[in-house]
C-alpha cells in the first residue's frame, strides 16, 4: 500500500510515526511546499527569540530517514484527483496513492497581499517566515517593529520579538487582545497586564491602513486613526485560512467523519480539518496541537486496523510563551459567570445547568488542569466552583479526594 501525505506538519508527522511504530511497511511519501523536516509551529517563535533552530524539529531533524519516508519538498500540492487517486503539484509532478492523508494546515490571511512585495513585511506562520524575519532583523539591525493583529499568533509574534529585545507596537482591531480565547473582561484584564509586564505599545480598535516604502523597503505604516509610525518591519498576523482548496475547491476546511475520513481513502486532520466539538457537538476547525495529534492517531489506527473513532475536539488553549503570564481558556463564554480575582490572577467559569460551559484562567496555570477535567466530565459544580476558584492553595482536587471540606466534587 502506498500512503501519501499532503503536508509535513504536526498531524502528518504524528500520522506517519504512528503508522511506522505500528508496523506499517508500505511506501510513504510526504509532500510539502516548504523545505524542512516536520517542525512544531508552537516552537518556531523561540527561534526568533534566539533559541537553537534544532529544537523546532520536535520529532527529530532526521524524521524522513528515521521513518523511511520519501519527502517531496519545496513543491506545493495544487490538486487532489480523488477519482484517479493522485495528487498534482505546482511543478507538474504527480504522486499516486492508495490512501491519502490530507493535512495541509492553514496559511496567513492577508488583507493586502501586495504589501508582502515590500521588503520588511512578513507573515508569522511558517518556519520560512521565521527564517526570513530572523535574517532581516540581523542584517538590517532592526530594533523596532509593528505587529498587525492581536490574536494568538499576533501576540505570540509580539512577545517573541519583545523577548529578542525589539520595541514592539501591537495593533489590534478589537477592544482587547486574544479576542477569540477570552471574553470582554478577561481579555481586557490580560491586555492590560501584558502591556504592564512587557512595555509593548498596544493600540486597540486600530488597524494598519497603508504602508509606504522607500527603495522597496518598508519605511512607515499609517494607522486607521490617521497617525503614522516610522518602522522598517511589519508583521501581518490578522488571521488564517485553511488550505483546503486542492481537495475541496474552497477555503472552508475539510469536513471529516469520526474516522477522520474526508472521502473514500482520504483522511484529514489538524488545522484544515472540520471536526465536531467533544462537548458542544458544534462543527468547526479546532486548531490546536492536542486535537491534531488525536485526529492523526485515529486516522492511522483506522487505516491499519479499521477501527477507532474520534471523540471530538476541544477548543482548549493556553498562551504562555516568552513570559510567565499564562492565559488559559476553553469552551464557550456564555451562561452564568463566576469570577474570582486577586492581583495578577483572574479566573472566570461560565456555568450552564450547573456545568462548566467555558472558562478563562489568567495569570497562573495552577488548577487549570483540574478545571479542564471538570469541564470535560460534565459534572455539576455550581455549589462548589467559587470555592474551587478562590482556594488559596489550589487544593480543591486534593480536598475532594481526601474527603475534606467538600469544596469540590470528586471526579470519577
Amino acid at each position: 500500500m502506498r500512503v501519501v501525505t499532503v503536508g509535513t506538519g504536526m498531524a502528518a508527522a504524528e500520522f506517519v510515526q504512528r503508522l511506522r511504530l505500528d508496523g506499517f511497511d508500505g511506501e510513504i511519501v510526504m509532500c510539502s511546499d516548504e523545505d524542512f523536516a516536520p517542525y512544531s509551529p508552537c516552537v518556531i517563535p523561540f527561534y526568533l527569540a534566539g533559541e537553537p533552530l534544532e529544537t523546532v524539529y520536535w520529532k527529530g531533524k532526521d524524521f524522513y530517514d528515521q521513518y523511511r519516508v520519501t519527502a517531496r519538498l519545496g513543491d506545493s500540492v495544487v490538486e487532489v484527483d480523488a477519482e484517479r487517486r493522485l495528487v498534482r503539484t505546482a511543478a507538474g509532478r504527480s504522486e499516486t496513492y492508495d490512501r491519502l492523508f490530507y493535512a495541509t494546515g492553514a496559511r496567513s490571511w492577508y488583507p493586502r497581499p501586495d504589501w508582502l512585495e515590500t521588503t520588511g513585511v512578513f507573515g508569522f506562520k511558517t518556519l520560512t517566515d521565521m527564517v526570513a524575519i530572523d535574517r532581516y532583523v540581523r542584517e538590517q539591525g532592526i530594533t523596532k517593529a509593528v505587529v498587525f493583529g492581536g490574536g494568538f499568533i499576533g501576540v505570540d509574534a509580539a512577545l517573541a520579538l519583545w523577548h529578542r529585545g525589539l520595541e514592539i507596537t501591537l495593533v489590534h482591531r478589537n477592544t482587547r487582545l486574544l479576542s477569540q480565547m477570552t471574553d470582554e473582561d478577561g481579555g481586557q484584564f490580560a491586555t492590560r497586564k501584558l502591556a504592564e509586564k512587557t512595555g509593548i505599545n498596544i493600540r486597540l480598535k486600530t488597524t494598519v491602513e497603508e504602508i509606504s516604502a522607500s527603495n522597496g523597503q518598508l519605511a512607515s505604516v499609517r494607522f486607521s486613526d490617521g497617525s503614522s509610525m516610522e518602522t522598517a518591519m511589519l508583521i501581518v498576523s490578522i488571521g488564517v485560512s485553511p488550505n483546503s482548496e486542492p481537495l475541496r475547491g474552497d477555503d472552508k476546511g475539510v469536513p471529516s467523519d469520526p474516522q477522520m475520513l474526508a472521502d473514500a481513502g482520504i483522511y484529514t486532520a489538524g488545522d484544515v480539518a472540520v471536526t465536531r466539538h467533544a462537548v458542544t457537538g458544534a462543527s468547526g476547525i479546532y486548531a490546536t496541537y492536542p486535537n491534531a495529534m488525536q485526529q492523526a492517531r485515529i486516522a492511522a489506527r483506522h487505516l491499519l486496523h479499521n477501527d477507532g473513532a474520534f471523540s471530538g475536539s476541544v477548543n482548549t488553549n493556553v498562551l504562555k510563551k516568552h513570559i510567565d503570564f499564562p492565559i488559559v481558556s476553553a469552551g464557550s463564554f456564555s451562561g452564568e459567570a463566576v469570577t474570582w480575582q486577586d492581583g495578577d490572577i483572574w479566573r472566570r467559569v461560565y456555568l450552564q445547568d450547573g456545568k462548566i460551559n467555558g472558562y478563562i484562567i489568567i495569570g497562573d496555570t495552577r488548577m487549570s488542569g483540574y478545571i479542564y477535567q471538570l469541564y470535560l466530565s460534565r459534572k455539576r459544580v455550581d455549589q462548589t466552583i467559587l470555592k474551587t476558584l478562590s482556594a488559596p492553595r489550589h487544593d480543591s482536587y486534593y480536598r475532594s479526594m481526601l474527603g475534606l471540606g467538600g469544596s469540590a466534587m470528586a471526579m470519577a
Binding site: V43, Q294, K321, G369, Y370, Y397, L402
Partner: protein, 197 residues
Amino acid sequence: MKRIFVDYKKCLACKACETACAIEHHPGHSLLAALGDQKTQVNVRVLGIEHEAFPLSCRHCEPAECLNACPSGAITCDPETGAVLLNPALCKACAMCAMVCPFDAISFKHTHRAPYDRDVAYKCDLCNDRIKEGGTPACVEACHSGALIYAEYDATRTNRATKSLRTYLLGVEGMPPLLELFRELRRKEFARRSGGV
C-alpha cells in the same frame, strides 16, 4: 512497573521528601547548596489540607495527558520504567501540559536544568536514574513514616489512573499506635486554631 503510592494518613508533613528531592535534583547534591538557591527544583510538594497532609507529585499516568499535549517533543515516557520525563532543553514553557494535568503536578521555574535564560516546566522524574540502577526514588527513601511507598503498579488500574488520584492512595493498614496518637493531636490542634471545639 512501579509507581509511588501515597498512604497520606501516615504523612507527618515533615517535608523530608521535599528536602531529599531538592538535594537529589540539585547540581551540588547537597542540602547546603540547595538551601536558599532560587533555582532549586523541588518536584514533590507537601500540601497541608486542614489536619491532613499530602505529598503531591506527578503520577506518571499512562497514557499521560501532558505527553499528548506537549507540542515541542519535550515530554516522553521511558518504556523501561514508565517514568514520564520532561526534557528542559526542548521545553518552551508553553504550559500546554499544565493546562491538562489533572493533578496540578507541573510547575514553571528557571531551574538549574533550564538551558535558556527563562523558565521551563518541571515535574517529578520518578528519580529515573536511581530506579534504573535498582534504587528507589529519593522522596520514598527519605520518608520515615511509610506515607510514600514505591511499589509494583497494577496495570488494570491504568485506565482510571489518568483521571483519579484514588488509584494511588493506599489504605491505613498497620497504622502504628503512636501515629494514631499524632493524628489525634494534629486534628485537635487544627480544630483549636480554626476556632472549633
